[in-house]
């Protein structure tokens, strides 16, 4: 057996190995640039949203939009998760042409990174596409007789609320508790203590509003603080829960925007969501329309005492700094105090 041809064969195999490595690289590259990496084509809406409206979008709004003139043939790709998490993902490069988050700061983050135009709020509804209110979800029959946020601070009550540093919904919850305390005449410090008393009673702090709902339905806690639309979604899915609108609560304003280089289909979609037809569909799915004329008081009652808005506390930019800054915010401090006390 001559040495040259088997050696050539072995060299050949090694060459194949190197080729395989190159092919591997090519596959990676190919996968990377061909699918959702680029602009996604002219008729595709790349939707990135917070956790709760998933069914509303997938089962009602998107099909209805596709039935309209402007929506014909439009394709959707959907991603849902905790509001803060999703916003940061888009900032870090996740493809998006239409975003819908639970609070304004999650859109502002994208304005700062240049992905959403500064003018996103310059319209009739100031960028807000749906409303809701913070409500308290309880077990059927309300065995612990919970009527207000004060009741949640009780000794043998367990409350589920999401983690305020990953979930937008959690921040609304906390501001609702705070607003309720302020309305009762408490001082700022006392109001924060009210928040702390409730946070003390949490057996679970899931990462998003939707996971919090699932955790509650899975048996954790006596009560869940959540969006009214979450409670309605649970009921519509056949779950046995009741919800109360506390006497004082806060109006949850859920913003939406298109990204800077979004295709026309995304802009059309956003317009559809603001149209009467779109708003009616939102209402059917548990969300309060932003158009006051379309709000049915029997389905969406107002709180007995007062409905606060975030503007009452200076707007989200101010509140995010003051309350939810990771290191110096009042809520971060409360978490720490609770943690130290728990040990």
């Amino acid at each position: 057996m001559s040495l040259s041809s088997p050696i050539k064969k072995w060299r050949g195999i090694q060459a194949l190995l190197v080729l395989a490595l190159v092919a591997f690289g090519a596959i990676i590259v190919g996968c990377g640039s061909s699918d959702d990496g680029g602009d996604g084509g002219s008729a595709k809406v790349q939707l990135v949203a917070y956790s709760t409206p998933q069914q509303a979008y997938e089962q009602a709004l998107e099909p209805a939009f596709k039935d309209t003139e402007t929506g014909k043939g439009v394709e959707f790709s959907n991603s849902f998760g905790g509001s803060g998490d999703q916003s940061r993902a888009v900032e870090a490069g996740q493809a998006a042409s239409y975003v819908n988050f639970a609070l304004e700061t999650d859109v502002t983050r994208l304005v700062k990174s240049g992905q959403v135009a500064k003018t996103w709020k310059d319209n009739k509804y100031k960028g807000i596409v749906t409303n809701s209110v913070v409500s308290i979800v309880v077990r059927p029959g309300n065995p612990k007789n919970i009527k207000s946020f004060d009741d949640l601070a009780g000794d043998d009550v367990e409350v589920v609320t999401p983690n305020p540093f990953s979930s937008g919904g959690a921040r609304w919850n906390i501001m609702a508790i705070y607003a309720d305390a302020i309305e009762q005449g408490k001082s700022k410090k006392q109001a924060l203590d009210a928040v702390k008393a409730i946070l003390k009673n949490t057996p679970a702090q899931p990462e998003s509003a939707r996971v919090a709902l699932q955790t509650f339905l899975g048996g954790a806690g006596d009560a869940l603080i959540s969006y009214e639309n979450e409670a309605i979604a649970a009921q519509q899915a056949g779950e046995d829960v009741e919800y109360i609108i506390p006497d004082t609560t806060i109006l949850i304003e859920q913003p939406a925007a298109v990204t800077v280089d979004a295709p026309q289909s995304s802009i059309d979609f956003l317009d559809f969501l603001w149209s009467d037809e779109g708003q009616k569909i939102w209402a059917e799915n548990g969300y309060r329309p932003v158009n006051p004329a379309l709000v049915d008081e029997t389905q969406y009652p107002s709180p007995a005492t007062k409905l606060y808005t975030i503007a009452d506390f200076g707007g989200w930019d101010k509140v995010a700094d003051e309350f939810f800054d990771e290191e110096n915010g009042s809520i971060a401090k409360i978490n720490e105090e609770l943690g130290v006390e728990a040990e």
């Binding site: 803060g84 998490d85 983690n163 990953s166 057996p203 702090q205 899975g218 954790a220 040990e343």
Partner: protein
């Protein structure tokens, strides 16, 4: 060969110093070094660099934050409890699988590996159903620290069993028989003759189980509640840090977890080398 048991390439047989040239060709060595370098070394270095991006101070601040410490405490304590359970139950299981005979033993033997093959999220989902509020057997421990222990016990089940089984199989029964004929009781025989021979296997299994347990994530996601300071383990804490865009903090705690795991793997290697030496 027990799955997942690392060994060091030290041969038991006397070897000539001549190696096979083709295996040692530059291209092969280069490929392997490049592969391990790109796929393993690079990510490891990236994490370590990030962890110390703000200097030693920054690292220490991140690692010593109350929430990080609480998560680490829970992680370590739960893992220690779990490996203690595993040391006992794993040995018991190995014993039953090797020394006992019953119909369906083969199936039971195969099922032991299920935690290797089942995705952790599926484990989490089903443990939530079995031990949550809709439990068919009436046990509800969801969202408690007990749930953490149960989930970790699930995923670490195979480690001790698979490390002890081969040792039991190759155990020399002569000593046992001799001891028995000398009148030693069963428990004494087990404790003084059998157990020492199983010790390296148990130790290996325990180390591997511990390394797996402290990093476990998927099986805890749905069933533990993830409450900071109560039921949040380090991996969940790290995920929270990543999603809050605090990559330095995430990397710092990751480095701690990594250091512990790598130390454990080194211990395993050491145990196996020790066992090989002491076998003769």
């Amino acid at each position: 060969m027990a799955a997942g048991t690392p060994t060091v390439p030290s041969s038991n047989r006397p070897r000539a110093s001549v190696r096979l040239p083709w295996a040692g060709q530059a291209l092969n060595k280069g490929l392997v070094v490049m592969w391990l370098g790109l796929m393993v070394m690079l990510p490891l270095t990236a994490i370590t660099t990030k962890a110390f991006e703000n200097g030693l101070d920054g690292f220490w601040t991140a690692v010593s934050s109350p929430q990080a410490v609480a998560a680490l405490k829970l992680t370590v304590i739960a893992s220690l409890i779990v490996v203690a359970i595993n040391a006992v139950m794993g040995t018991l299981l190995a014993w039953v699988l090797v020394r006992d005979k019953f119909p369906g033993k083969g199936i039971v033997n195969s099922v032991i590996d299920l935690p290797f093959a089942l995705p952790t999220i599926v484990a989490s989902l089903t443990l939530l159903t079995v031990y949550g509020n809709k439990s068919p057997i009436g046990i509800n421990i969801a969202f408690t620290q007990t749930a953490v222990v149960v989930a970790l016990s699930f995923v670490t089940l195979p480690f001790v069993v698979r490390a002890v089984q081969p040792l039991l199989l190759t155990l020399d029964r002569d000593m046992e028989s001799a001891a028995e004929s000398l009148g030693a009781g069963r428990w004494r025989i087990f404790r003084q003759i059998i157990l020492p021979n199983l010790a390296p296997g148990i130790a290996t299994g325990v180390a591997l189980a511990f390394a797996r347990a402290i990093g476990e994530f998927g099986s805890l996601v749905l069933v533990s509640g993830n409450v900071p300071f109560k039921t949040e383990v380090s991996s969940v804490f790290i995920r929270g840090q990543i999603e809050s865009d605090n990559l330095v903090g995430a990397s710092a705690v990751s480095v701690v977890l990594l250091a512990v795991s790598l130390a454990l793997l080194a211990v395993v290697t050491f145990i196996q080398r020790w066992a090989v030496r002491h076998e003769r």
